[in-house]
């Protein structure tokens, strides 16, 4: 279980105070207007931003003293998830080893995870030539490759057109169930949250409120 207890962050004059409990195998959706602090929440969980006070625990172990790449977390961003000068396989391979020193076994795993997201045969294609949906699928493949229990979704469907968006949501949902991930989804689109059967929170005035509908 991911637990945020009075996790306080200050950004300029804005102050945020997050309290939240997110279970594994479940999506917790954070809804709110732009500027309400949704991205800040993900940044502080992922370790891109330091908290001033409060608790951040995964299975009762504090994450606050860990660097971003040491936390049991992986993020799917809205865009810029891929390095366009690398191939699809290399982009996924970065999730195994940041040096890209991969052996045949690793390549096998990459092919397998690519087929899981419907990208089989794309290994050696350049990331620059992918469509928006293919880019997000590849990025999701890397998230799976990293085998981290917590998945942060930072508006990952917003840049996609309607039909691609629907396919991507179905795929994400399957993947979450299969790997029993603890997911925090940030979105301004309540529909996304509903389709993922999420527990919904409203973020306003720097506070999270459980939404009961």
């Amino acid at each position: 279980m991911l637990k945020l207890n009075k996790l306080q962050v200050r950004l300029g004059t804005n102050e945020f105070n997050y309290t939240l409990q997110a279970d594994a195998n479940r999506v917790s959706a954070i809804l709110g207007k732009s500027g309400s602090g949704k991205s800040t929440l993900l940044n502080v969980i992922a370790g891109f931003l330091n908290a001033e006070s409060g608790e951040l625990c995964w299975n009762d172990q504090s994450l606050l003293n860990l660097a971003a790449n040491q936390r049991p977390i992986t993020t799917l961003f809205q865009q810029h998830n891929l390095f366009s000068h690398l191939t699809v396989a290399q982009n996924v391979g970065l999730g195994i080893h940041p040096n890209l020193k991969l052996d045949e076994n690793d390549h096998q795993n990459i092919r397998q995870v690519l087929s899981e997201v419907g990208m089989e045969g794309y290994d050696n294609k350049s990331a620059a030539n992918l469509s928006g949906g293919e880019q997000q699928r590849t990025a999701l493949a890397r998230c799976l490759m990293r085998k981290q229990p917590i998945l942060l979704l930072d508006e990952p469907f917003s840049a996609l057109d309607e039909s691609t968006r629907h396919e991507m949501i179905v795929l994400t949902k399957n993947v979450i169930t299969k790997h029993r991930l603890c997911v925090i989804l940030v979105t301004h689109n309540e529909d996304d949250a509903d389709r993922l059967d999420a527990v919904k929170y409203q973020l306003s005035a720097g506070q999270l409120k459980l939404q009961t509908s």
Binding site: T75, F83, P98
Partner: protein, 543 residues
């Protein structure tokens, strides 16, 4: 949004910048200290009592002011003409030629200028037959001519870029409002150029104020000497160390002041060669078409004739002798060694500074601090080559025979001269390779060598080749450092060329200039090819 860093993992982001800063400190800080310490014995202000030095200082400002005024003043009508004639034949080529001063050594260009405008040059031969007094290339006139040759095209390109950036809507509007060319100038073109004028004026003023090679070859004597050249003369000819130190300190103060003033004016001086005409520009041709054409043709001749003059005079009966002369061969080898070492040193320092400064700017969100670290690489603008050379001379004269380590000192000075260019060429691409993906890079834990190899190198490879090429040609063609420390034992092509011009062996000089030009072009192309994708792909395919 600025993202603060969390606890440092094993990320040594500070290391490249620290190494670069330490090397910079050793190469500039120690000479600076040596300079300032020896100022205790001399009073720098005392040179103001000396009439000769007063005249030198006054002339430095006077010629820089005239050069900058002329360059910018002539660039305005030329940029207007080029902007108004989007479809002029050879326009693109001509504008690209304007950037050649980046790679053509000053000394070589001067030789071409003399071939055209000199006492026995084409212009004077033509006017003499008409009974007009010949124009003297030596003295203020020649200095101004050469400064305009180098800087007017630069100014024209900056202004043309500003004109190209005028949005299409404004041209549509001007057509609907039936603006004539005067109204266009007043309401559209002038406002676009005005924002660049002061910045580019200050840039050219500073370049001309510290100009060495041009003043040394075309000026000289008490009536046409700048501070930079006077330091050289005090050091190499009069052996007057006090005068050299005093002048160097005065120059240091002036350059700092100029840099400070320049910081307030912006300009967008281009760095690449390739000029790309704005696509879908609907700018109508306007003004007096024949006047536009005339201006463009005169500018083309002004840039092209000296190059042509050089090529024609370079091939002459003494060419073979010069080529096989042992001095020439030694000078070629020394020049190539200096150019390659200085350019690699310069690019290495530049990358070191930029990698650490990028981390500070993106990861810590401290933009100003990162930029200051980067500005350390521009130290040569405050401490011009001859001033730095004086400092190095003071520092090392008791430790070593400075003339026996001439090549090393030249490499140091040349690498620092190229560093501002390197930083400006590589800053954009390196920042771009990091900005959008910073959180991703952080969460994947890609750091150090892996980050450079996988994420930076593929994206900066091309600009890096360009930076290497520019700094190598700059080092290969530089006269200032080698003039201070060079000798028969340490010859380079620019020094040899200078000696041969000085002793009026003009045929030999012309061939030497040709060789220097070829060496520069070869170095430039070689370094581009080394870093180009095709070369690496072929190498990988073979391996």
């Amino acid at each position: 949004m600025s993202l603060a860093a969390t606890k440092a993992s094993f990320n040594r982001w500070w290391l490249p910048g620290c190494i670069a800063l330490v090397v910079l400190m050793l190469m500039t800080g120690l000479p600076l200290i040596a300079l300032v310490l020896s100022a205790n014995d001399v009073s720098p202000l005392s040179i103001l009592e000396n009439a000769y030095f007063r005249r030198v200082i006054a002339f430095s400002f006077y010629q820089a002011l005239l050069s900058a005024l002329l360059s910018v003043g002539l660039a305005i009508p030329l940029a207007l003409a080029l902007s108004r004639e989007q479809f002029f034949v050879g326009r693109q080529l001509l504008i690209n030629l304007f950037s050649l001063s980046l790679v053509i050594p000053t000394l070589v260009a001067i030789f071409g200028i003399v071939a055209v405008f000199g006492r026995k040059g084409w212009i004077n031969n033509a006017t003499e037959s008409l009974g007009i007094e010949p124009f003297s290339i030596y003295g203020l006139g020649g200095i101004l001519l050469a400064h305009v040759f180098f800087n007017m095209p630069l100014a024209a390109r900056v202004l043309l870029q500003a004109l190209d950036n005028i949005p299409n809507e404004q041209w549509r509007l001007s057509t609907q409002l039936r603006m004539r060319s005067w109204a266009q100038l007043r309401f559209i073109e002038w406002p676009a150029m005005r924002s660049q004028l002061l910045g580019v004026f200050m840039l050219i003023f500073t370049l001309c104020f510290t100009s060495f090679t041009i003043v040394m070859t075309l000026g000289g004597g008490p009536r046409a000497t700048t501070i930079e050249v006077a330091i050289y003369q005090a050091l190499r000819f009069d052996f007057d160390l006090n005068a050299a130190v005093s002048l160097a300190l005065v120059q240091l103060i002036f350059c700092s002041a100029l840099l400070l003033i320049s910081a307030f004016f912006k300009h967008d001086a281009p760095l690449g060669f390739a000029y790309k005409a704005t696509e879908h520009l609907i700018r109508p041709a306007s003004g007096y078409r024949w006047l536009n054409a005339l201006l463009i043709i005169i500018a083309a001749l002004f840039v092209l004739l000296p190059l042509l003059g050089l090529v024609i005079s370079a091939i002459n009966p003494s060419s073979i002798d010069v080529l096989t002369h042992s001095n020439t061969v030694r000078a070629i080898i020394n020049t190539i060694v200096i150019a390659l070492t200085a350019s690699f040193l310069s690019v290495a320092m530049g990358i070191g500074l930029l990698i650490s400064s990028r981390h500070i700017r993106i990861r810590f969100g401290k933009h100003k601090l990162g930029q200051w670290i980067q500005h350390a690489g521009n130290i040569i603008l405050v401490m011009p080559p001859v001033v730095l050379g004086t400092g190095l001379f003071l520092l090392l004269r008791n430790v070593a025979d400075v003339f026996s380590i001439a090549l090393l000192l030249t490499i140091i000075i040349n690498s620092l001269m190229a560093l501002p260019f390197v930083l400006r060429i590589l800053d954009g691409p390196l920042m771009q390779a990091g900005t959008h993906h910073d959180r991703l890079i952080q969460s994947l834990g890609i750091t150090g060598w892996a980050r450079w190899r996988l994420l930076d190198w593929p994206l900066v490879r091309k600009p890096l080749g360009f930076a290497l090429g520019v700094s190598a040609t700059l080092a290969a063609g530089d006269l200032s450092a080698i003039a201070l420390f060079g000798s028969e034992r340490a010859l380079t092509l620019p020094l040899l060329l200078f000696q041969r011009v000085g002793t009026y062996r003009l045929y030999e000089a012309a061939t030497t200039a040709g060789i220097l030009l070829i060496v520069c072009l070869c170095l430039f192309l070689l370094l581009q090819a080394l870093t180009s994708g095709t070369f690496l792909r072929n190498a990988n395919a073979k391996a």
